[in-house]
Symmetry: D2
Subunit: 364 residues, 4 copies
Amino acid sequence: MSSTYGENLKLSIFGQSHGPAIGMTLDGIPAGLPVDLDGLQAFLNRRAPGQNGWSTPRREEDRPEFLAGILDGYTCGAPIAAVIHNKNTRSGDYANLKDCPRPGHADYTAQIKYGGFQDAAGGGHFSGRLTAPLCIAGGLCKQWLAEMGIQIGARILSIAGSSVSDDPLDPINPQIPDFGGDFPVINQNAGQCMRQAIEAARKEGDSAGGRIECAVTGLPAGIGEPMFGGVESRIAQIIYGIPAVKGLEFGAGFSSACMRGSQCNDRYTVTEHGFQTTTNNSGGILGGITNGMPLVFRVAIKPTPSISKPQQSVSLSKAEVQALVVKGRHDPCIVPRAVPVVEAAAAIAIYDMILGNTQTNRRK
Amino acid sequence: MSSTYGENLKLSIFGQSHGPAIGMTLDGIPAGLPVDLDGLQAFLNRRAPGQNGWSTPRREEDRPEFLAGILDGYTCGAPIAAVIHNKNTRSGDYANLKDCPRPGHADYTAQIKYGGFQDAAGGGHFSGRLTAPLCIAGGLCKQWLAEMGIQIGARILSIAGSSVSDDPLDPINPQIPDFGGDFPVINQNAGQCMRQAIEAARKEGDSAGGRIECAVTGLPAGIGEPMFGGVESRIAQIIYGIPAVKGLEFGAGFSSACMRGSQCNDRYTVTEHGFQTTTNNSGGILGGITNGMPLVFRVAIKPTPSISKPQQSVSLSKAEVQALVVKGRHDPCIVPRAVPVVEAAAAIAIYDMILGNTQTNRRK
Amino acid sequence: MSSTYGENLKLSIFGQSHGPAIGMTLDGIPAGLPVDLDGLQAFLNRRAPGQNGWSTPRREEDRPEFLAGILDGYTCGAPIAAVIHNKNTRSGDYANLKDCPRPGHADYTAQIKYGGFQDAAGGGHFSGRLTAPLCIAGGLCKQWLAEMGIQIGARILSIAGSSVSDDPLDPINPQIPDFGGDFPVINQNAGQCMRQAIEAARKEGDSAGGRIECAVTGLPAGIGEPMFGGVESRIAQIIYGIPAVKGLEFGAGFSSACMRGSQCNDRYTVTEHGFQTTTNNSGGILGGITNGMPLVFRVAIKPTPSISKPQQSVSLSKAEVQALVVKGRHDPCIVPRAVPVVEAAAAIAIYDMILGNTQTNRRK
Amino acid sequence: MSSTYGENLKLSIFGQSHGPAIGMTLDGIPAGLPVDLDGLQAFLNRRAPGQNGWSTPRREEDRPEFLAGILDGYTCGAPIAAVIHNKNTRSGDYANLKDCPRPGHADYTAQIKYGGFQDAAGGGHFSGRLTAPLCIAGGLCKQWLAEMGIQIGARILSIAGSSVSDDPLDPINPQIPDFGGDFPVINQNAGQCMRQAIEAARKEGDSAGGRIECAVTGLPAGIGEPMFGGVESRIAQIIYGIPAVKGLEFGAGFSSACMRGSQCNDRYTVTEHGFQTTTNNSGGILGGITNGMPLVFRVAIKPTPSISKPQQSVSLSKAEVQALVVKGRHDPCIVPRAVPVVEAAAAIAIYDMILGNTQTNRRK
């Protein structure tokens, strides 16, 4: 596997859904950074399951135990390591998955790649549960970025089956602090409609996808490295590490493919805050480098593959079609719980780039 | 800068638009792989400028000189190095860009990051011209993948301002060989309509964006490594290294965010070719790992930022708004020339993952 | 910090001497490899402290708890994670070290680098205790190499203050299985003499350095990558990660600097085992690549810096010279316990190179 | 191959001894650093062949052509690329080497690894000629380090067959500026004796090895990252990338293995320059991190394997012993020419570590 990320910091994530523990090591972090463990727990609670109508009733506290790297409330320069012990471990529910893969899950590809040796229980290392250690690392990075005046906030933009999307973000001056909560939206009416769409899917034994939008404010201009170390490249690598992500766009994104240059180019202007652009189709990135405008991107999340409706699968041993009913109860929509995960991933990528920003900023 | 890519192969790209030469080094390639230089040149010619109505009249032959790594038509195990000498080098056209940045270009971010020391001529290292060495590396990888039965083909899906898109690809059995040419589409009528949209933009001194779809067939199941070494992550990192890319989606992509699980999950079946899925919303990837179905992704390309219409910019030294007219002639639409670049990028990412595929495929 | 190693496998080590736990994550290992936990424990016991006259009386069981990556006795393809909980944790013994650094330790450099935020207790992350997780990873790699017929054995070559060195190894056919035990030597009389030298140092409140020689047999020819991925480079990087290592040489090493070419060049011959050399001054490596002869290298270990004799140090706050007596009891000689650590480091480096050996071995 | 180096900067080296060109790309260097091309040429001339009695009469000017990354005498932030065109290219001298490998060379290991596809002429990519691009990169890094007050100097310590070694370096205050020239030593009488030893070897158709000592002054304390990113680890990886290096030791090195702790520990003191140690057995490194004392290391160089005396080799095709006479003329001792290469390698490793030094140096 390759569950490591980072050019300057080194994040390593481990664990299987029903193994003894999941966890992470985060290396390369400077000494002397404050760590607010209560704040981190509050962040992790946004991702934790079992708290409302749309998430799995499996309850895990997701309370990390820090084994290394933090001393008296500050980073000590040594690698930071934390584990979350699984309480809800291996059961017999998953015995059949190696032969009869669940559609939309990694059961089949894991079987091919690991030849039957993989830990299939609960999806093993492919489980969405592995986003918990990602949130430990990302929650810490978020705190350190906030210290520099960099805020990261994401929200639900749309849910499959809902007729409305959330209100557009102000791309010039997005209001990060308004996000948060367990169903973060700008327009609460739209949010209500989206919740109903999730409930409707749940009642039918089905699930729903959705989109998440993330904005980062306070980023200085000059972060990112062309060609393959650009902000889009680095964020994309980690965002696509989140299970169920199938699309990612920055700024105007796919809409820019429908534009002419005269529409898409953001014109420069001078404001009290310095040089800015009057629109933000670039999403704050030109040539892979931040331009000082808010960084904006959107993520497409596919619907939870685990549904209780009967589905067509195959028996790998018998090489014949077989009906499958996925047992257990699962999130009818993971989009709300994925919101802090997207924030965490962005925080890790951005903090990594800031650590590696070796430009001297000499001036000619 | 960080113009290097790869976990197993190591690609390093260098050059500035108007410098003496551009080029690349490709390290980590096994010895004994055949190299078809004529085939490579034919591939590079698909990207070369100056051959039709929609590209810049700047003419460069883009004929690489190989300095190392190839002997008697085969890779020799040493790093492969190639350069393309620039004939059309530095002129006075770009003197003003450090003070008055072109909207939509990297002029401003480069000025901030490199403090005026950057090579601004022609966009310097940010120029689309740097995709030529990317195509050298990618063209070679494409040949080696073809030897294994893996075909990569991309085509134009839509152009801004055209009312039609190309016909949908058959996601189960895409016909890769039909692509190619300087305006690759499935439906020639749609292609004609798209060409007219480009011509309309050109006449108005404007430019047009568009979408490219890429399909890879013949990929064995089991390629890719979770979590951050998944196929989507690796392809995304390199695709976002192509200038002007603002969006990327795999399989059903953003559409999957509008689906329910019962629609989105690809059901398994048994065919004469083995296990397959009856739809391909996953784009051939589950859990970051190939499932043996065609790999399909789409890329959003923003319109060329260089337009001849007057635009609003700023003088960085005077800190005031200033009108800007971009001189020189530029591609009114880079989408057609970006098609082989997308293929090249995908080929590099896939060949890199195949080199690193260390699974033993023991069977339990 | 940068406590990560590996190009193909990814090893991440964490922990501080007196923190809650130390541990490691080992990513990139194929699925389906057998794991012999009893064999691993026996290997770890060779490093464990407190079992004889020359090691610290601090007793830790060094019994790893595996949190992930192993299922039913086999690797499952997911990252392997293990922790060792510290039982003998933080005390007040180390309060003074941030102001009055111990000579020969990292106290001073840690203070400069981490600004006082470092965990100074017991040396923190710089403690030799961190070689325990290195031995977990290395012990596993050793098992997997043994499955391929590759044996790794190290032994004590000399101890400071002893008038004798161990007998020379047969560089053509070293007898790996003879090593092992808690004081591995070929010549037991020499070993007895070395033990006495350690005891003499201990009695005087002093410590002793020494040399370790390591041999690897069964390595196929063709492993390693020039220029910076050569066998010497990769082994050197990890061996110098072991605390107290100050020198490393391969084959004839520093002796080859005293030779003429006609002496140093190993002549080729043909044997029943195929092509061999009649001497092994190269240590089994030519051009960074294994030649099929035994890999041989020697490591210089400096004497344990912690001695009970009074030493001259400084008070960093007062900027004046200050006498220091290091409290607690420490190994008078870490060389015996470093022997399995050297084996572990070599095993990790070699297994990493084998995983990355992408040559197709086509033949012209 | 893996001819790339660096964690923060990315160095990529390419070329074969008798190919069209050799060269390098150096990525990740900040913009705005001055480049003194005349100074660089003077540095490269120290390595260039054909200028005296102990080096090959093959004459190459080793004059790099810069293709990218430098503009108007300053780095521009884009990757730096340079090539040296080979004038003395492929001849028929090397046809036999694929079947009858030269003892001590990489001919055999290359044949095994690359299956006959390797470029055998002149050693191909394994040639010492590849240290020329290493010196381009290292010469640049040396200049940038000098700007920070960091000086790097190496000299010949001993030559095989000479009865004398050079005078010891003052490890507390080494006089770097005294080095340089084509046979750098402190004691000119010893140097004369060493030259005679080389001449004696040459006359007998033989070659001689030797040792090089390198010192770095002006290094701030706090550079380097434990465990595997320590100064010794990073320097070792690149130094072992230099052909013919078989040993490396830091500070007292192998001598420390013969010491007791009370001898080896460097005692701290307070001087007008701040905290120092009264001896420098650590070689300026404790726990992998610089302590502000001079960095000192020694390198063992084996004798040039190419000798004109007849040697025993084998025919790989016939599987029988065969006599070999190496044709052409070669350096009877490469140690003098390796001196600037060692400096270059050290400069690259150190500059890389300085770029990655992300410690905040907050103080508690």
